[in-house]
């Protein structure tokens, strides 16, 4: 054959083969079931696999493909949903995500296993009377502090107000200990740092608060709590060493674990990372100060399992969730394998330090919900960036307040 003809033939083949590549489907028997899960939280990867292995051992006909992502989880999930490659089971936040993913979610209203959750636990996933997902685990965040370093600086009582927090920082500095690693380098840490301290806004009636923001009766930036939050950030920045804007979550964990700093603002999910560096470190929570002088810990079951309503193997997915709620292993999975508090009624308590402190805070009712998620979807990033611009010195107090007001207006506009 002529060379040219061969080349043309190959070019033709390339075009044709790329057209047909996607259409090859594997025909399977009825019996074996293949599921596809997509989760975030790579710190739980081993735990996820452990759960899946236990389940598939009991159900040998089921095989589960699991994909775990972190930073770009939302982006990848969205592109999967749009391309029709919907995971049979996936994770998302609660509250505003209930409506965001509504077109894809199977409601769990009639599932027997959902009775293992109390009604209060289910508020974060309930939308218009429907249960839109299954709560995964209870997480908490506040100032994680190093008990040994506090003792070394002669601090006997934990601070509950902004002034007391300042005194603690001064004592730590005098003892040659850097009080904070700020976490300001990552936008998601800033909303987490400020909203517990703003949780006394509207006396905790967040539905009314966001109603007023939506109708324009309240300019978000004019909440007195915003000023308080900015004061708190100023304090953290002042006591976070020379480079407060470079501190990211991984640096926070390593700075804290190596005893370089006494406090970080972050959550129960960091305990495993910290213990990986310093297994025996003695840590606890300092509650977040508020204007009303009632310090709180932010506690919520926010991560939520979502079942795809168009899943071809819906029954198997529901059986998997049932396994998590009713089997012995499934019920002990969150407390003993992950080491966090399980939202299931009557589940064991975990033996991790921060989870124990969370349980104590819940018992004493000194907690606040992750109320910012009750607002419009898509505000978290601009909200964080607005505060980040403030601490970086890109915007002053008044400009920051204006941006905060505007971003809520824009977010409601976009809905």
């Amino acid at each position: 054959m002529h060379k040219k003809q061969i080349a043309l033939l190959m070019a033709g083949l390339m075009t044709v083969s790329s057209l047909t590549m996607g259409s090859v489907t594997v025909m399977a028997d009825d019996d074996p079931v293949e599921l596809y899960f997509m989760f975030n939280g790579p710190e739980y990867t081993d735990a996820y696999h452990d759960l899946i292995d236990h389940y598939t051992e009991e159900h040998p006909n089921v095989s589960i493909e699991l994909e775990v992502l972190q930073n770009d989880y939302q982006t990848v999930l969205r592109s999967r949903l749009n391309s029709g490659e919907v995971p049979d089971l996936f994770l998302s936040s609660a509250y505003s995500d209930n409506t965001l993913y509504a077109d894809y979610i199977y409601n769990l209203d009639d599932e027997e296993f959902m009775k293992n959750f109390s009604e209060t636990t289910l508020t974060s996933v309930t939308e218009d009377g429907h249960i839109t997902g299954m709560p995964f685990l209870v997480q908490s965040h506040g100032f994680i502090y190093n008990k040994a370093l506090f003792e070394q600086a002669g601090i006997t009582e934990l601070p509950t107000t902004l002034d007391e927090l300042r005194t603690v920082c001064e004592k730590l500095t005098d003892a040659g200990i850097q009080p904070f690693s700020s976490g300001f380098g990552e936008w998601w840490i800033l909303p987490q740092t400020v909203y517990p301290s703003m949780s006394d806004a509207y006396d905790g009636d967040y539905d009314k608060l966001f109603e007023d923001v939506k109708s324009g009766d309240l300019k978000f930036g004019e909440l007195p709590q915003v000023d308080f939050a900015l004061d708190l950030l100023d304090l953290i920045k002042e006591y976070s060493g020379d480079k407060p804007m470079e501190s990211t979550n991984d640096l926070q964990c390593s700075d804290f674990a190596t005893g370089k700093v006494a406090m970080i603002h972050n959550g129960s999910w960091d305990e495993a990372s910290i213990r990986a560096i310093a297994p025996d470190i003695d840590m606890g929570y300092v509650y977040m100060p508020r204007m009303d002088e009632k310090a709180v810990l932010a506690v919520e079951s926010n991560l939520t399992f979502r079942v795809a309503k168009d899943s071809e193997n819906l029954d198997t997915v529901l059986d998997f969730l049932n396994y998590m709620c009713t089997s012995d292993y499934g019920r002990s999975w969150v407390p003993s394998v992950i080491g966090d508090i399980s939202p299931l009624t009557g589940a064991d308590a975990p033996d991790t330090q921060l989870a124990a402190e969370t349980a104590a805070a819940q018992d004493n009712s000194v907690t606040c919900p992750w109320w910012i998620f009750k607002g419009p979807e898509g505000v978290e990033e601009p909200f964080g960036t607005a505060f980040q611009n403030y601490v970086a010195g890109n915007a002053d107090r008044d400009e920051t307040k204006e941006v905060l007001t505007q971003l809520f207006v824009d977010a409601y506009d976009a809905m």
Binding site: K4, A7, L8, A11, G12, M14, T15, S18, L19, Q74, T75, R78, L81, N82, L100, Y101, A102, D103, Y104, F184, G185, E186, W187, D242, K243, P244, M245, E246, L251, E377, G378, V379, E380, E381, P382, T385, Q388, N389, Y390, V391, A392, G393, N394, A395, V403, A411, A414, M415
Partner: protein
């Protein structure tokens, strides 16, 4: 009769060419063409990026973009500073190093490879490596040497962070442009330089009067490539600074990403990309015309 067979031959050649480009046309249409058309479609709609329905809102996205979006304006400002910085520095340095590597210095094979290596590493990895260097390594160097330069907050200070993104980009892409310029310089006929030498022209004079005009095609390609690339920069900034501190290093591409995926405003993000496309297009056309006019034949 003859005219007919000529026509037939021409048709055959055309078909043949079409056959050769078919795979490329297919893939470009699939991965660039169709998404681009869809992007224009969504730029006139209100869509959260997930829901199965979207709403036609006419030019509303574009109007908002021009009258009421300080984030986009600040991204625009940063992107231009970044583009001007990288394009100037990378091209001047690349021509300088290409000239050095073309002269008979020792170990030029080694240097050519050394300069090119950063170019084959993924931009995301480069971002993470430099983030580590700027935070942990500089901190260690500071405690050893005590030099103030390591004590600066290279990624945490709003002005310095802009500078850092430019420096890392230049470091990363320098090798590629050196390669193009070296290839261009190898095409400069030696007899021109020799006769200029005989006429008494010094090295500097020869460089500016012979080399530069003759490598104009390389310069115009490198300018086009670096301008278009820096206006669209995303990965490096995403992993190095994440657009921060605050929004100090948020490029247009990063702002589009945030709008579409973090703020759930896919339609509005699409409108921003259409505007970015027009900006890149206009600047590229002006610039290619400008440099094409300066090209000379040896």
């Amino acid at each position: 009769m003859q005219a007919n067979s000529q026509k037939q031959k021409a048709r055959k050649t055309a078909l043949e060419f079409a056959g050769y480009v078919a795979p490329a046309v297919f893939f470009i249409t699939l991965f660039v063409g169709i998404p681009f058309v869809m992007c224009i479609y969504y730029s006139f709609r209100k869509w959260n990026g997930i829901g199965k329905t979207s709403e036609f809102i006419g030019l509303e996205n574009y109007i908002r973009l021009f009258i009421n979006d300080p984030a986009f304006v600040s991204a625009l400002k940063y992107t231009f500073i970044y583009a001007i910085g990288t394009v100037l520095i990378v091209n001047v340095l690349a021509i300088f190093f290409a000239a050095l590597l073309e002269s008979k210095i020792k170990g030029r094979g080694f240097f050519r490879a050394a300069f090119y290596i950063p170019n084959i590493i993924s931009l995301v990895i480069i971002g993470f490596i430099w983030k580590f260097i700027c935070t942990r390594v500089f901190e260690a160097l500071m405690s050893i040497t005590g030099w103030g330069i390591f004590g600066l907050s290279w990624l945490g200070d709003s002005q310095l962070a802009v500078f850092s993104t430019i420096i890392v980009s230049v470091w990363q892409s320098l090798g590629f442009y050196i390669l193009i310029y070296v290839a261009g310089m190898q095409g400069v006929p030696t007899e021109l330089n020799e006769s200029a030498d005989l006429d008494g022209a010094g090295a500097v004079r020869r460089f500016f009067s012979i080399t530069i005009p003759l490598i104009m095609p390389s310069i115009s390609f490198c300018m086009f490539h670096s301008v278009a690339n820096s206006l669209k920069m995303f990965e490096l900034i995403f992993s190095l600074t994440g657009g921060g501190p605050g929004t100090s290093t948020t490029s247009i591409a990063l702002d589009i990403y945030n709008t579409a995926f973090n703020n759930s405003r896919y339609g509005y993000g699409s409108a921003k990309s259409v505007i970015l496309f027009i900006i890149v297009l206009v600047i590229s056309v002006i610039q290619v015309n400008f440099f094409k006019g300066k090209e000379v034949e040896a």
